[in-house]
Amino acid sequence: MKPGNLTRIITILAILFFYLPIIVVVVFSFNSSKSPEWTGFSLKWYYQLFTSSGYIWRTFLNSIIVGVSSSIVSVVLGTLGAISMYLGSKKFKQVMWTTTYIPFTIPDIIIGVSLLIFFTTLNVRLSLFTIFIAHVTFSMPYTMMIVLTRLHDFDKSIIEAAYDLGATKSVALRKVIVPVAMPGIIAAFFMAFTLSIDDFVITFFVAGPSSTTLPLQIFSMVRFGISPVINAISTLLLLGTIFMSVALRRYVRYII
């Protein structure tokens, strides 16, 4: 059955709702005036961003360091978790499922606050390392679920066949299970990376004074008011997001 005109109109309006504000921000990143009235095309805000905004790039570097390291650890642990959940005993699955489901459902702010209190109680100094710990913690349930979805998609008898043909456990893991899970592992990595790069609330609580990440930096700039430099940063981040979304199109179904 073809959806009616009303659903089409709602869809078009929803897409406009998504994109109009973003497009406005992108357009005004090329404005020559500081205030939001169009006075002519200019690249000066990008020039300012690239030449005299070292502090922003330092926060970007921090985000990349945390993003890459936390997603690697998160994917490795999440994949091993998914394999154990896929092949483990029923009772074990139940434990895994509960441990995964709870952090998945509770609001991020609770994870942030509880880790802040936890680190402070143990006298751990807040730094990039505490952000790394927090990011692995909140992204691991996602990476586990994504890899598990991929594993559930394929026929378990292939693993049985590997054993029948004499494969040992570690051979089966390296030659059968991991290759089969690979699309899920890739999707999981990028999901974890995106979650890490975007996270504001959890990082807000576990970051120390010298470990500002890009979202924390953007937050303090936005709080200060509108500025074309934020428009320029937004445009660049958006380009990155579009590029990644297009490149990872075919992995999307492991995420939703």
């Binding site: 059955m1 959806p3 709602i10 998504f18 939001p36 009235e37 978790g81 609330v201 937050f219 979304s245």
Partner: protein
């Protein structure tokens, strides 16, 4: 025979694959389960005015937040989260239905995924840029002489609601999309063949069949909205402080950690109630 034993060893219960998941479990226990228990414990300890706590039992943390002011914040948070989840569902059901049966399904899905993966702060900023006191629309109004001083479009509850819907709409569309996609197309064709109108198909066939999808879409918006911090902080007014803002204020400004822990514990309990009501309530109705 050895082969047979090996195979049953690895694939039946207690296969030894559990050890692969042990690091995952230990990590989440240390950095999630224990910290959450620590929060619950903190809410019953004595406040240290330096920030932090003294190891002495006290319910002062709960007493500090037992007033009309906090009750209002809690009720406001639940109402705003509920309304934004409801609006998201109202938009997301027709949109995901349209996308599933569209010729441009992949492209439209991509258009939903991009905002889903776009940094939430720059999406909030976009609205501040447009509606803020020094924003685009105010600039237009001032320049054209329609108004003499800026109009306050944001810094109120309506702005918080608008931007929560804007932020979380993809969270509602994606689960609904996958639950509609799983439905058999023939279901709709059969209904049409038997004389149903499009309207009837939508309300009598589609909606009852995606009940579980609607429930999870609702939870995906409602629960993050309960804990939201950045949105009310950036576009809310004096009367739109939500639970998240109060937790942060108690932690960083008031330095009353037991109170912050008490608010967090209540938020945790609210979340658990929401999950039980929506998920388990939804399942029960389904099986009946």
């Amino acid at each position: 025979m050895t082969l047979k034993r090996k195979r049953s060893e690895v694939l039946s219960s207690g296969s030894g694959y559990e050890k692969y998941g042990s690091v995952y479990l230990i990590w989440l226990t240390i950095f999630f389960v224990i910290p959450v228990i620590v929060i619950l414990a903190y809410s019953f300890l004595t406040r240290d005015y330096q920030g932090g706590i003294i190891l002495k039992f006290s319910i002062q943390g709960y007493k500090d937040i037992f007033n009309l002011n906090y009750l209002t914040v809690f009720i406001r948070t639940v109402i705003i989260s509920f309304i934004s989840a409801a609006i998201c569902i109202l938009i997301a059901v027709p949109v995901s239905y349209y996308i599933v049966y569209s010729k441009f399904k992949d492209f439209l899905l991509l258009l939903v995924i991009i905002p889903f993966w776009t940094n939430s702060l720059i999406r909030i900023y976009a609205w501040i840029f447009i509606l803020g006191n020094n924003g685009l629309i105010n600039q237009l109004l001032l320049n054209s002489g329609v108004v003499n001083s800026y109009v306050k479009f944001i810094y109120n509850n309506a702005a918080v609601l608008l931007i929560l819907v804007y932020t979380y709409l993809p969270f509602a569309i994606l689960p609904l999309f996958s639950s509609i996609e799983r439905l058999e197309k023939q279901l709709f064709e059969a209904a049409m063949d038997l004389g149903c109108t499009k309207r009837q198909v939508f309300f009598k066939i589609l909606l009852p069949n995606i009940k579980q999808g609607i429930v999870s879409a609702f939870v995906f918006v409602f629960i993050p909205a309960l804990g939201t911090y950045a949105v009310p902080e950036l576009v809310g007014g004096k009367n739109s402080r939500l639970i998240g803002n109060e937790i942060a204020r108690q932690l960083t400004i008031a330095r009353n950690w037991p109170a912050a822990a008490a608010i967090s514990s209540i938020l945790l309990i609210l979340t658990i109630i929401a999950v039980i009501v929506f998920i388990y309530g939804g399942e029960k109705r389904e099986t009946r």
